[in-house]
Symmetry: D2
Subunit: 308 residues, 4 copies
């Protein structure tokens, strides 16, 4: 099948070619705004270890909210299901950075893949250690999962995030007012902005997510990263909540658990098949990669990997 | 595997036995309030035609909102994707009968599986025919799909629904004010209340939903009910939106597309495997069958049918 | 002072002259849409019985929501303060026909001067009598207060209101679902649409509202219409809630209790001084008469009648 | 009349005597929680300079949100009506510290008397000077208006405010994200928490507010503090928005412009008559002084000073 898969990827690339460059690049910080909007990469790593890549699959980009899947994994390993007393598992009918729901639900964010929820996850990871140790732990986990020590925080992006981070500071203070952030807001946001600023390539990202496609174990290193049940549950959350207020649409069109970031990356999981990473900086109106979503829709149709 | 499946079903029944009777029976109309809370039925029909049932699997119950899956199917066959100009495909952060979202989004309901969306679906079915023809069409479709002419509207339930139907009348008038209901509210609600009052057994319901598990075609009658792509998309909507404001939780715990009704029934689809119907009248705090949800969670764990 | 007042009115008319015709005439029903936007009338009746009028002060127009002040008066006389168990007295942060607040506050409208609250008021008046008697009671009260038997319902307007009344039907059914409407929705709305369709001139309206400026008693007929305390409280509600989501702005600019209608009329009360009615059909963006508001602002500045 | 007024005040004190101590003292910081709930003071200063006081009228208490009236006055004097491009003048249907409205209205607070609006006002005052100068300016204004140099910030209260100030930090960051806070959040909050922590007695507060009752001029010092029009407008805002989500109720029962603080103080203005300050630490369920509100309701009834 590897060969066949490479043909499918070629078809996908051909199908989205005319749309490359469309969408609107995130422009709230210079480091993202200056990205060439015509970048496009895709990398698929199957459970039996084959990799098919195309385009700019080896160029690192800012993974942004895709990092939330990995910090969620770490937090669940750290404190287990008690995490769910501080964060819900329901999709939200609102934008990624909405604070309305937090007021209605007393500081409990709806799920760990929106900003508020991911900030609580970061706060969990901070418990018992300092911000530097915490970001080190996150980067180290990603290096390990990607099997690549070059994964690192883009300091320039992290600094810019901080400078424009009033909305996230607002979310953090709001939840702290309800007692749902335990650490100092400055510490929590320091880690949060750095995790968002981690740079990875499609190839690294697909490799890093592979354990989620393979019942929680890394098929290459044979490590059991999380239990099978936990892997399924993380996938379920990605399906329900991974694309902000367009999660239903992504399920409808692609049919795979996935998580997008405003850097234009999307990690998608085809359970028992493969992990897929795509990157294209232009975003659609709800903040997900426009061409990346189209590519995944085509890929899902051509492979029949939709879970439905 | 049929034998093995029957053992699994026996295990499921044993596992939930102690919880049977818990939850709160819907009490807004007498016909539902008077149901014995200790009823419990389950029926699984696999794609190769085997059926395993247990408990009160042959006793008809009020399918209520489970009907929304079938009217959605009919409406999509009738007018195709143009339906999505009148209804969204996103989960809602609100209760099943919330009107808040409708005001914020100008009369466009978030998805076809909440009341407002299902009322628009019914309005679509009414176009070009009267209420009686429309409900006949719906019942006829369900009889055909269940391969059982005994499927019928419970007139007593339908009458009670109408008498207590102010909230649904409010939703319908609200959307009509935005032009998103074309027919007369009385006509639309007449059909809507009757479709909710259809009575079916678990066996009938699992049989009726089988085409959704089998790429859109009925594996027994060989009819292609809907295209494979459409079946997948209906399943995707059930996954994202099938359990009101607990859809994320159902995905997390069960990992199957499903649709619940306040009568205590749930239809779940295991793609490429089986259709499953459970019934237990006691509801949890968000209005889904408490024991039914537990039974499906166990079934999913024991069979490995979770799509994740 | 009568002479002086007539000079002030002349000044007001001169000051707003250039703006006459601006704003947007309500167009949801033909009977309102066809009004000449250049109509402008003003009538002031002082507590000592002097009247100063200008412009189209004797031409009847659709009083619309101004009627809510009078039905509130009737309902308070009928059942007293127990009314406040069914309606609040707080301004709303939403549009005149918003349903969001009703969901958050369990079917209790925020105040009697928004549509939902006025519909509850009408429901109170309906208790123990039929719709025809109820509208007769309302019209009779207004004829008595205006001292003019020509006050009447414009049947054409009432019919049109009904045909486009889905939003109000939605509000009524919504509250009925919470038990806060006791009568049949059709009956309540029949009265409500007729009361909105009452036609009165500025002169009649100022005369009818005079008791509110004079401690609850009609200075001419010497009738004590309501107690002084009640008159003050009705004025307080007009100040807080009389202009939908621009009530604060009206208080800021005009400084008088007032109630506007989408027909372009405004009734304002200068306590211990006078009742003022203005009419100009063009509305501002929140649905209050644009030139009417300006005229009242000028009048308030020139007379020093602001309560602040 | 001074004598008569002292009798009225005696009557008011007698009428509320049995309720003294009821309500719930603000307990979010120790300095407020430890106040004796049985404190009660009232001070009335008339436009002709007579003062009638009773109870603990000379004991300083934390004026908290009452400070918002004075910072609003300063900001209007500083930048004039352009302030209204950054803050609305409408009451809010939400709690004093709600953030929901800010999200719906893009970071523009509804009015200057809720926390978010007062934080913007403070940001305006900070422009061109440091936090220390700014708080000095505010305290100096209050000393001048109260004609008493003993007015000062309670440093202990200010420190506690800061430590528990996450919700206000959230509001400030939120608005800064929309560009509606120009300064650093730490600076803005430093001033804001200090202004809330100013301690004044009823006598000082009534004296300080007197210019609002006297057309903008101080009747004793003869200074024109603000123009008559501005004084009226500040009063209008107090009437519409001075008591959070119970502003309508205060207008209904008291009929005077007023502003409350969680320290239990209320400043009320009887235009052309007097300024009134009451203090009783126990709060009602919406956060306004319970006994203070009752006292003002009685006073208004006995004096006939209601503006309605």
């Amino acid at each position: 099948m590897p060969q066949e898969l490479s043909e499918i990827v070629a078809d996908v690339c051909r199908d989205v070619k005319d749309r490359i460059g469309s969408g609107r690049v995130a422009d709230y910080i210079p480091a993202l705004a200056n990205i060439d909007p015509r970048k496009f990469g895709i990398s698929i790593m199957t459970c039996d270890g084959e990799t098919v890549s195309a385009g700019d699959a080896d160029e690192p980009f800012s993974i942004q909210s895709v990092s939330k899947v990995f910090t969620l994994t770490l937090a669940l390993e750290r404190i287990g299901p008690v995490l769910w007393s501080r964060i819900g598992r329901e999709p939200t009918g609102s934008a990624f950075n909405s604070i309305v729901q937090l007021e209605h639900e007393a500081g409990i964010p709806r799920n760990p893949l929106i900003n508020a929820g991911a900030i609580v996850v970061t706060d969990v990871l901070l418990e018992g250690q300092g911000p530097r140790q915490t970001i080190d732990e996150i980067v180290s986990f990603l290096r390990h999962r990607a099997d690549d020590v070059s994964v690192a925080v883009d300091a320039e992006v992290a600094r810019s995030e901080r400078e424009t981070g009033d909305r996230n500071a607002s979310l953090a203070h709001f939840m702290r007012g309800f007692g749902n952030i335990k650490g100092e807001v400055d510490d929590v946001l320091s880690v949060y902005f750095q995790q968002c600023a981690i740079a990875m390539s499609c190839r690294q990202l697909a490799r890093a997510g592979l354990f989620l496609a393979h019942a929680g174990s890394d098929p290459l290193s044979k490590e059991q990263v999380v239990s099978e049940a936990r892997a399924r549950r993380i996938n379920a959350i990605m399906m329900s909540c991974g694309h902000y207020d367009a999660s239903g649409d992504f399920a409808f069109h692609v049919g795979l658990p996935g998580k997008s970031g405003v850097g234009g990356g999307i990690l998608a999981i085809a359970p028992r098949r493969a992990a897929i990473a795509v990157w294209s900086p232009g975003l659609n109106e709800v903040g997900n990669s426009l061409v990346g979503s189209l590519a995944l829709e085509r890929l899902s149709a051509l492979t029949g990997w939709s879970v439905f």
